[in-house]
């Protein structure tokens, strides 16, 4: 009996285990559910021990524990896969609009409805069950396996980065797989192969030492709120590209092949209009909307403040004005280089009548997995076998901090192998997961290990 046969033969029992996992309300943000979060961690650890993983531990952090387990029996000449997921969930109460109690998994039309079904218990549990199938009856998985399942993803993973950094030897692997995302439709698998990085800063333009009366001094003082707008307005060229010298220097250009591939799933202008309601598209000339949001860097003004902004009016000439600025970065841009370029440019265009202070707030590099890398080729084959269809490739405009942590601390590619659907309702009422996709996900995880070992 192959691992695949095991899955199909035991799918009823596997689903019942999945439903049991869904019944524990491991809401990480709610202190009153801290015990439930602990309970799920131990439930998972028990299951991981039962199926034959080694070194299974529930590792305490400052808040919710991390569950770790491994199987290294494939030998050091075989690849090691680090599987990351999370067992905590978003809050949910029936009165939010659920048709069933959110922690009473209910099957309707082939979907299981429950909080965490898609995000992320179902997706991470598919990998655990793939390991069980490969280990069943004395089986030996073709690759080494390491599981890292955290309980704080929905509260921003406050303790994961430090854990990864402190345990790089234990977590050493050749590839990381994260299944915590969706695909466009149930029969079209998709791989996100690029995430944008982020650089955040604050700009403060200083003028007079204190707020002045605009009647007494207006006309003789360069109003910092005005000067701020004059500086920010120079950060983009009028046609929409970014005017900071050198900003695009390190950007890897899109290949013709990539552009064709991205076009398959990219947001159309009609969708963009429906989703944004903005008057007209904007952005860097020469790129389609989905390229501007996924494959090209940006510079955004995320906040503006200065002077008086309550109801009514105050004729203040403010002492200073602020802006929050962020750049979304793409490979191979470096957040520190970009921060320096933006800072230098701001200083160079600041007139002598005011002063500019730039405070760097944070930065994380972009992520890009080479579509020709062996791990990516293995993921493609796994989807082809699990779904019967070649996956499409997508770039995601946002950032996923854990991906950056894994890349930075472990130096390995991260494959974002989603088993859910974009409209599974993660974070909303009636979150659901298609049971057929749960089963296909288990098979795909096995296929991935098999393809990776070849």
């Amino acid at each position: 009996m192959t691992a695949h046969d095991f899955v199909d033969a035991h799918i009823e029992a596997i689903q019942q285990q999945f439903f049991a996992l869904l019944r524990i309300p491991s809401i990480s943000t709610a202190p009153e559910h801290a015990g439930d979060v602990q309970q799920v961690a131990h439930w998972l650890a028990d299951d991981m021990r039962r199926i034959g993983l080694h070194q299974v531990e529930v590792i305490p952090t400052a808040r919710h524990p991390i569950v770790y387990g491994e199987w290294l029996g494939a030998g050091s000449d075989k690849p090691t896969v680090l599987i990351y997921g999370h067992y905590d969930v978003q809050p949910a109460v029936k009165s939010d609009g659920w048709l069933n109690e959110p922690f009473d998994p209910t099957v309707r039309d082939g979907f299981v409805y429950a909080r965490g079904s898609s995000d992320d218990k179902g997706q991470v549990f598919a990998h655990v069950k793939a390991a069980e199938a490969m280990l069943a009856n004395g089986g030996r998985p073709p690759v080494n396996l390491k599981f890292l399942i955290e309980g704080e993803e929905e509260i921003g993973s406050p303790n994961l980065g430090a854990f990864v950094k402190a345990n790089t030897e234990q977590l050493k692997a050749d590839v990381c797989v994260i299944s915590d995302s969706g695909m466009p439709t149930a029969d079209q698998p998709a791989i996100v192969y690029a995430l944008r990085g982020l650089m955040t800063m604050e700009l403060i333009v200083h003028g007079p030492q204190v707020d002045l009366h605009s009647g007494s001094y207006g006309g003789s003082v360069h109003n910092p709120a005005q000067a701020l707008t004059e500086i920010i307005a120079q950060l983009h060229h009028p046609e929409g590209s970014i005017a900071v010298p050198g900003f695009y220097d390190d950007v890897l250009p899109l290949s013709d092949q990539e552009r064709v591939e991205l076009h398959k799933t990219g947001m159309s202008e009609a969708e963009w209009r429906k989703n944004t309601g903005a008057p007209q598209p904007y952005g860097e000339p020469g790129y389609a909307i989905h390229e501007r949001t996924g494959a090209r860097p940006t510079l955004e003004i995320n906040g503006l403040a200065g002077g008086y902004f309550d109801t009514g009016f105050k004729t203040v000439l403010p002492a200073k004005a602020w802006a929050k600025i962020s750049c979304r970065l793409v490979a191979n841009q470096n957040p520190e280089v970009i921060a320096r370029q933006v800072t230098d440019f701001i200083h160079s265009i600041t007139p002598s009548t005011v002063t500019s202070e730039v405070r760097l707030l944070g930065g994380s590099p972009p992520a890009l997995v080479d579509l020709n890398a062996p791990a990516m080729q293995a993921a493609i084959r796994a989807y082809e076998r699990g779904w019967g269809k070649r996956p499409v490739f997508m770039r995601e405009g946002g950032s996923i901090p854990v991906v950056v942590d894994f890349q930075k601390e472990l130096g390995i590619p991260v494959i974002l192998m989603g088993f859910g659907l974009n409209n599974d309702g993660a974070h909303g009422p009636n979150e659901h997961f298609k049971l057929e996709m749960f089963q296909k996900g288990i098979h795909t995880s096995i296929h991935f290990c098999e393809a990776l070992a070849q």
Copy 2:
């Protein structure tokens, strides 16, 4: 005995009346002092009746009363002077740093220290005592007199404008005198002959219908915070003048004579640096600092807001961003014309990727009294006789709403005839008024009436 002789002969008694007036804590903003405010109104009305004014009334308003009194015995062929002042005062407690109880007038080195001594009981009472001197012993003032003394100046005169508008016939006059300001030094009288007007508006730049995630949409949407800066940055030319077409069209140019006169009291660059602490002066080329703040119009950004502005960072792409914009206006600019010009220009430079909404908040015209007008010439002669020195002429960069009310509703010139010193400490601790200036003020008020009648 002339009116002037009467003043000098009775100065001790007049000072004692002034001190009695200072003892009543008519703090208009404090509900617990509402009775004191009433008491001062009646105290003043009683004094005005006693000295021979007619139609003396304490006129209730929604909060604190207005005191009115008149003497029209000079005849309809003689000018009528409307004297405006206020009997209410700012709050004061000894613990703010007073050397004496603020409502226990105390004389030191020829100054009386008490709240309201300069602002404005002393200055307005000088006019009342001038009227007493002219009316004493069956005397007949050379002009008709109308007194309008309010009790709400320190809380923004919420009821005065409506009163003036509703009583234009009763208040009809040829000139209005306001003594509620200071002169540079005790021996240098000064007349403010111009006040800037004001136009206030709010600009809202709209982009997407709701706040978006800058990771998902950044690069494809014209960020309204960015677009706002791009619009505002175009409102000034880089060298400091205002770029709104037609903005300067109606501005009366400064004559060479005015420039020479203004230069005598204008803020020097050294004073400007000390007062503002700003890195470098800014403004319209070709004009000195004091001309930029007094004689030229401005366009100021008084507030900016948009997106996220708390601590930390939120990668929001905001649905809209706001600015509060005001223009200080000079003769003969019209607030409605300026509002339309600024609005039209903003709409004309708004790109098609966002929309601009402009909300007009308010407007008041500038004030400029012709230095050659008979009333102004009378004021000059009055100061020359009262102080023995020709007054200097100043332009004030701010606006005084009551001046606008008198100009607009009554159509008469307003002479700002200050008897105080700029450093009398109005609104602060140890407010004081030089008793010599109180006496000179009474004489100057009489001289003004005499000069006006000639």
